[in-house]
Amino acid sequence: MTDRLGGAVDRRPLHFIWILDISGSMAGGGRIQALNTAIEETLPQLREDSLDHPQAQLFVRALTFADQPAWLHQAPVPVEQFRWDRINAVPQGLTELGAAIIQLVPVMQELGRSGRGFAPVLVLVSDGRPTHANGPTLDQAMAALQAEPWGAASVRMAVGIGEDADLAALARFIDHPDRQPLRASNQTDLVTMIQWASRQASRAAANPASPDVPLATTTQPMPSGPVWDASTG
């Protein structure tokens, strides 16, 4: 006699990916240290948010880029098990953002094959203007990402560090009329903004909403000045 209706049940995966600039300029002004601190302080909050969304199994991984992109975690790691190993900037490293974004395309294809889950979350942190010495331009990479249904559906946020951050490029990455890149001008800002962007994006991905309703943008972090100030961190 049948004693169940349907098959095995499971939480749906929500993939969260940090895309982190470790170019040479990140070595200055305590930026890379602030980035490490921000991620360390964001993880407990993501774990807490995950408990509030039991329908979602949050998986985290990080992709760094300078001259070349490099995955810090080849496979997605459940947020409960994710541990952050502090990263360093690459001396004289470029800002090959396009090459990094191209790394996301096969990930989106894999999500499409699985066909199950929440829209992935992509949070970009960068302090400079993208280069394309070794890889595709930002526009080429974004076109490839958005050609994938799961890439187009991804919830994307971006934080620029200091006055050299190319906000136009970050806005191109976000490509959403109701979301703008954030600019952090000091270490405190950076921690706050990475936490905010990461939590907002993951919440937006896990909360039901109809397509007509934009991602809520009412909880903006404090306004920040145009210059990275290393003394306030």
């Binding site: 098959g7 939480r11 039991p54 066909g115 909360n207 039901p208 909403a209």
Partner: protein
């Protein structure tokens, strides 16, 4: 969890159940799903609705209840056409009339009970005319099925699933929708809900069960072939259990999906006289269904005529 009613309409029984999701239990939020089952003499009807969960949908539970009630009422009055083209046309008429009535009903609710300060805060970020924002506060999906004039008929707006099962255990999905990514869904509160209507129908000759569920059940399923599993399981149950026994267990079958997070609701329309199951003590045998043990008019009044 809650059950509204269960009645029989000639050869069909209708039942449903709803289990609050663990995410809502954790946040002390009410069950935002709703369902409505019922029957008039010739038309068993079952509807599920899933109020949107995001914070700005401050009255989605009410929107879902209104949607379930109003679509059930419209389906009970569906036209009795029996050719495919007319059946679909009837369903389009039902859907359009239902949308109009739902929008009128939610605006009346908002007028009768104005939004509180907390609700207004939640709605503050919404763009659009006040009337549009008010309707959006009641956002919900809705899926309804009925069996009338020899056709299984279905209407859907938004996510969730509808299916039917034939005597051999074969399963057919009704109102299929393109694969959605993440949590996006069409909505009854969308700017153009008419464009989001999906209708479907199939001859009821060989159909033994019809089911509809909210996405709390669908999205919790890890097996891509789960719809076929449900079909085979329902077919197996009908061979061994009465509709009342199936109804009694429905809460328990929904509970694992609800434990994953979302509110989980399912309605079933089950053919009574089908099955290999021997009749229980006191239960009329199959041929007794035709026997006038109670005067037809009285029998109808007692058991069947339960207008929605």
């Amino acid at each position: 969890m809650g059950r509204l009613d269960r009645v029989s309409a000639q050869a069909w029984s209708v039942c449903g159940a709803s289990v609050i999701g663990s995410a809502h239990v954790r946040r002390s939020v009410e069950n935002q799903d709703a369902f409505r089952c019922g029957a008039c003499p010739e038309t068993p009807v079952a509807v599920v609705a899933d109020g949107h969960g995001a914070a700005e949908y401050v009255r989605s539970a009410t929107g879902a209840r209104l949607a379930a009630d109003l679509l059930a009422a419209e389906l009970a009055d569906v036209g009795r056409a029996d050719d495919a083209h007319a059946v679909h046309k009837d369903l389009q008429i039902v859907a359009a009339r239902f949308i109009d009535r739902w929008r009128t009903a939610v605006l009346a609710d908002a007028a009768a009970e104005p939004f509180s300060a907390a609700e207004q805060d939640a709605l503050a970020a919404q763009a659009g005319r006040p009337e549009e924002v008010a309707v959006r506060a009641y956002g919900t999906t809705v899926l309804g099925v009925c069996v009338a004039a020899g056709w299984v008929r279905a209407v859907a707006i938004g996510d969730g699933d509808v299916g039917c099962v034939d005597a051999a255990g074969g399963h057919r999905t009704l109102c299929p929708q393109p694969a959605a990514i993440g949590v996006q869904t069409d909505s009854l509160a969308a700017d153009d809900p008419y464009a989001a209507v999906r209708t479907d129908a199939c001859p009821a000759d060989d159909i033994v069960a019809v089911w509809a569920c909210t996405d709390g059940f669908s999205t919790a399923q890890a097996d891509p072939g789960w719809r076929g599993l449900v079909g085979g399981q329902l077919r197996g149950m009908l061979a061994t259990r009465t509709a009342a026994e199936i109804e009694a267990d429905l809460d328990g079958w929904l509970a694992p999906a609800a434990a994953v997070g979302d509110d989980t609701t399912m309605v079933l329309v089950l053919r009574d006289e089908f099955g290999d199951r021997p009749p229980r003590d006191g239960e009329p045998k199959r041929y007794d269904l035709l026997a006038p043990t109670v005067p037809p008019r009285e029998r109808r009044r007692r058991a069947l005529w339960r207008r929605l």
